[in-house]
Amino acid sequence: MSRLVAIIMAVITGVLIAAGVAPTREKEKTSSPEGAVRAFYDRVRADDYRGAYVLIAPSSNVDFATVHRDIAGRDGSLKTLSQLQNADARVIANHGNEALVRANLEWRTAVGALFENKDLKLVNDNGNWQIVWPKHHEQNLPPQVIPVNYLRWDIIHSDSEANEWGAQNVESPHVRITSMNAVESEGKVIILGELVNEDTVPGYVDVQGILIGKDGERLGEETSFDKISHVLLPKEVTPFRIDFDGVHLNQVKKVTLNPNSILVPASADPVIGVLHQQLDKTDSGHTVLKGELMNQSGQLVNIPQVLATYYDNAGKVIWISDGYVDQALRPQVPIPFAVSVNDDIAPKVHSYRVVVNHYTMDRTS
């Protein structure tokens, strides 16, 4: 009997200790500004958005839905297909009851890692640090009908059962590589260039690159993958970039490029303007190309991708960089973008050109 009482007492003691420790740990987390930010993003990583919302200061005057939308994205954007992988916090400024913390976030997305820096203001409330959630003044278009009458291209293919021998199919669009350059950077050979659709019909394009070594051996075979605008309308120009890991330029004797094009049904919309493009420096001294994307059509663009081509003063392509924008492009609403420029290349950049790839879900046509 006395043994049973001892066991029961031990269990009760354990429960009480656990109950006493739990708030202490939470308190430890929010007792410093960076701890509060880490705790916030730990909960985001665990998909505990309600728990994260608790760490937001009531003075933010923001509802849960807004915070959830700000973090997890909306409108089928890249953020909605992302999962927070890592979060690190660093105090930028601490003024006793107020602090500024920079959160370095790494998201795992459908197109690879996405890095985000977020500066968060925190306030101290009786020893607990709370995040003052920044309010975004999103531009909202008034309800309206935007008439869109851009054309589409549809294709009638040859009916192999009914057609006789000799009946031709419609040809693939004629495309041409207008420039090409091979550079070595980051321990790999990178083939850069531009491709134009010279035809009057749209095409799905891709470029395959083959590196041939000094003894005629094949050093590598790669495609442009997502470093190209795949659907090209008539007279449209796209940059392309092919990366060959683990190859040095002095090993390469010859580069073979095979542009492929397929005739595909396509639509001429949406039109995306790239506004106020300019080269700028980040706080850490790196060069970025910044600007705004403006969807001039009436259709939502879920995932925009920016492809930037950089030229030297002779007009030669010297670098191509790209970046996915984690926000969807709503009609007529400018969205900022920034893509990094290789620091070695930046001083040689004389001009640049930006094109936008777009991925649209639930397209009706």
Partner: protein
């Protein structure tokens, strides 16, 4: 002794009769048409007919007419007709000629071509009879290429060994070119789209509206006056003093490309399509 002599005589007679067996085959027949083979002699024999895609074996009676149906002689070419059996073994050759031209296979290349290009359109016609035999006899062939709103180009040629060929240039008017080949009463049509060439005298103007600065081209045409196809990309570039630049890849719609640009005073705006450059306009900020 007498009986032996009689038997020997009978054998010689029958042998001679057998040796006298023969068939009479026409020099030439037309594919798909039946024919009769005359035979002499007597007794049973086996008929073999071997030709392109054809092998027939049949029991026949010598001395009777042997009928071959049209369906058995559909393939043009050289046949061998042999009769074996009953002490008979001989063969003859027969040529089955293609029937009248009934069908044309027409290869037209390319399916799209810019206007004003010499020797860019090729058409090859293969002339067949109704049984898919190439009609090898010389045959007049007419090629005709016409674009709506422009005169038709007509070329006459002669098919040699069943093939006629034409190489010609594109016209000056854009549109869906109807490329037709005709042999006798039969014709086949293909579409060779003649497309506008590069834009010529590309020009745009600006006006300010509440949605932004509107850049709009004049109707975009090539140097022959053909409207460039809708959907063609026109790139507007606005070089903004101190603000970098803005670009819009606008699509030609109903012959005109239109883009909305940010109204930045002092900006220099230009337009280009592919390698063709248009005019430049400096925006002063006024209406």
């Amino acid at each position: 002794m007498r009986q032996n002599f009689t038997s020997g005589l009978l054998v010689c007679f029958l042998g001679a009769a057998a040796l006298a067996a023969d068939i009479r085959v026409p020099d030439k027949v037309v594919a798909g048409q039946g024919m009769a083979i005359g035979s002499s002699g007597s007794g049973d024999a086996t008929l073999y007919v071997v030709g392109p895609g054809t092998a027939i074996k049949r029991q026949v009676k010598l001395g009777e007419q042997i009928q071959l149906k049209g369906v058995e002689l559909r393939n043009a070419g050289y046949y061998q007709i042999a009769i074996k059996g009953g002490g008979t073994d001989f063969s003859k050759d027969l040529y089955v000629a293609p029937a009248a031209a009934e069908k044309i296979n027409f290869l037209a290349r390319p399916s799209r071509v810019p206007v004003g290009q010499p020797k860019v359109i090729a058409g090859t016609a293969f002339v067949f009879d109704q049984y898919e035999n190439l009609v090898t006899a010389p045959m007049p062939v007419t090629f005709e290429l016409s674009v709506p709103g422009a005169g038709a180009k007509v070329d006459r040629a002669t098919a040699k060994n069943g093939v006629a060929y034409l190489q010609t240039g594109s016209g000056t008017k854009a549109g869906p070119g109807q490329f037709t080949v005709q042999v006798g009463d039969n014709s086949v049509r293909r579409v060779v789209e003649e497309t506008a060439s590069e834009p010529c005298n590309l020009h745009f103007k600006l006006h300010n509206e509440k949605e932004g600065l509107i850049a709009e081209t004049d109707p975009v045409r090539d140097c022959s006056g053909n409207a460039v196809p809708d959907g063609t990309i026109m790139t507007f570039v606005s070089a903004e003093p101190g603000k970098g630049r803005s670009t819009v890849d606008a699509r030609v719609k109903k012959g005109i490309a239109r883009a909305v640009l940010p109204p930045v005073p002092g900006a220099t705006i230009s337009v280009a399509s592919g390698v063709v450059l248009g005019n430049e306009v400096r925006w002063g900020g006024d209406e």
